[in-house]
Symmetry: C2
Subunit: 379 residues, 2 copies
């Protein structure tokens, strides 16, 4: 473990220390569900016909993966997941291109992050490539659920929970890995719709020595109340700050980027560094990777305080601000409420050209319109 508490190494794999995709048992549904209208897709409300489940016990290791019709899980009321948030997850998407092929976007980053989250949560680990192959089988079986659309997609939700039915606060001896999928609409069906943020001075998403850098359920439940406070102030999401310096950390459930002309006169794209407070987002990484191939801007992973951000805004040096995540890809920020004052940002003044550039480049890659090593075809 390094000084930030992030894991570097992986456990070695012994017998049953991983499941194998080749062992997957497939039980097809007899009657598929009706697919929702693609123009009425609410995020995370529709599920495809099948799910993947893989059981684990400390005594016997992983069982064979099972793909079967979606159904309720039978969970003992004493299962650790219901009491101690023994749960981690991932989120990625399958995209159907004009060529009819279904692609995943950098899924190996999700698999790696899931293993990191599992280790921090003392949940069982596995071979990420094997899970990826299982997910491909699941998506392939439910290929009809991947929208025939240039903007709608199939959302994929791998989840790992502790199911041991005992109330001790301890690592579970029984766990369940499952994957559900479902069609989701475009985040911005009618073009960018910028959001407003409450920069909350009191509530905090993550802290040093906590789990902010992992995709653990614990990071999400506590934010729901704070988002309600933002809504009550006319804002859609929370701008999460940290510490006395009011470091800018994240936006809602997204990473955050700020594009400004810095005091040296450079066009600088800034996102907070992976210092333990920040989720290592796949879209975040992709925005950084793309921007570093572009020569007209400086890319910085560095801390930025509210003071610096507000100063840049007041001096008309803040050009664009946006969130980045799998759901929206990029999401422009047009307004920040901070210390009771409303700050209207310049983001949309010229149509947010940098944000649009990231959006279009990423979408072209995801839907296979632009060839890239970042996509993986589902057989």
């Amino acid at each position: 473990m390094n000084k930030l508490g992030l894991f570097i190494s992986r456990r070695s794999y012994g017998t049953a220390a991983t499941f194998r995709a080749a062992d997957t048992i497939i039980k097809k549904t007899q009657h598929g569900n009706r697919k929702p209208d693609s123009d009425k897709l609410v995020f995370g409300a529709n599920y495809s016909d099948h799910m993947l489940t893989i059981k684990h016990t400390t005594a016997s290791g992983w069982e064979k993966p099972v793909i079967e019709p979606l159904k309720p899980l039978e969970i003992h009321p004493g299962a650790k997941v219901l009491h101690y948030a023994t749960e981690i997850f991932e989120g990625l998407k399958a995209y159907r291109g004009n060529d009819g092929k279904i692609r995943l976007f950098r899924p190996e980053l999700n698999m790696n992050r899931m293993l990191t989250s599992a280790e921090r949560s003392v949940l069982p680990t596995f071979d990420g490539q094997e899970l990826l192959e299982c997910i491909k089988k699941l998506v392939h079986l439910d290929a009809d659920w991947v929208p025939k659309s240039t903007s709608s997609t199939l959302y994929i939700r791998p989840t790992l929970i502790g199911t041991e039915p005992t109330l001790g606060v301890a690592a579970p001896n029984e766990s369940l890995l499952f994957v559900v999928t479902g069609p989701v609409g475009p985040y911005f069906p009618t073009g960018f719709k910028p959001i407003s943020l409450l920069a909350d001075n009191f509530h905090c998403r993550a802290f040093p020595g906590g789990v902010g850098a992992y995709k653990a359920g614990s990071n999400y439940g506590p934010t729901i109340y704070v988002n309600k406070l933002a809504n009550a102030q006319g804002c859609q999401q929370v701008l999460w700050l940290y510490g006395e310096k009011k470091l800018v950390t994240e936006v809602g459930t997204m990473n955050v980027f700020m594009y400004l002309k810095n005091k040296k006169g450079d066009n600088e794209l800034i996102t907070p560094p992976l210092n333990g407070l920040i989720l290592p987002g796949v879209t975040r990484q992709s925005v950084l990777d793309l921007a570093r191939t572009w020569t007209d801007l400086t890319v910085s992973e560095r801390e930025i305080t509210m003071d610096e951000l507000m100063e840049a805004h007041q001096e008309n040096r803040l050009m664009e601000m946006f969130g980045a995540g799998t759901a929206c890809i990029v999401c422009p920020v047009e307004r920040i409420v901070y210390n009771g004052k409303t700050h209207n940002l310049a983001t949309m003044n010229n149509g947010a050209p940098l944000t649009v550039r990231f959006h279009d480049t990423l979408v072209d890659i995801q839907f296979g319109r632009k060839p890239s090593t970042w996509t993986v075809e589902v057989a």
Copy 2:
């Protein structure tokens, strides 16, 4: 909401804004389970025959409480509780006295805390007195499961989870309140067994603007890994510190007390104040309430740093240190590993007389040997 983000007010109750214990539907089991040997009780591993469940939807409010045989819950794999830690819980016990009566210990404190946790987690609230009456019905029905013992008890676990099967990070429109119970053995069957603590300089249990003051699942999952680090250093539990000053906050899943001769020469009993980082424990409150009726010590709810604690230890002024919680009542601390050094505390040198005094006084009340307004009889 006050400046600490703690809730003061309660929602008003409209139609179906609470369930009623009088409406409880009871379905008795046809064949009760065999009870475990009372000398082989592992905490949280055995469950009584029945459970209480109460469903809630935003549209229709609370349904009627149901007491039925313990069985797995059917939970949709997309339920918010499995992804976003939409879960809170409580822990209390039923005690069988020599007079055969079954008593609860200050259960109204648990009900109040559960409502506070629910509000912070944007889960539905209810009339705490009604839940208490439901719990009494459950314990009464499973009265045979309350150990006939002067030390074993029936552990009671009320839990509230978000069951709505949608993946948006939002308050759930469907929730489930459930209560399971099970017999637990004495924490110290053969007299006090003091514990050793790793004072971790990096990991953190709670932080300002977080949910450390609420009994939310999110506070527990992230601690399991840190406890493993403590075990690896030969310690049983973690001494949770906060911030640059290394404030002493909690011990494992317990509140913490330190009894020292302070620089004024007073015998001072110190526990950290309810500043948002500390769970407002029922045992903590009871230790404070008792101590304030005793005239031979000074009681302080105040911040204490590791520096102050270690200085008192090195100057032989630290007399006793103990954790306090429902499981163990009080639990003496004999050793702290801090910055790589082992510190053997004086706690057990004279048999921990203050810790013993709290233990014996509380046990006498809980088992009805000493009359008290703190106990509530189960009809």
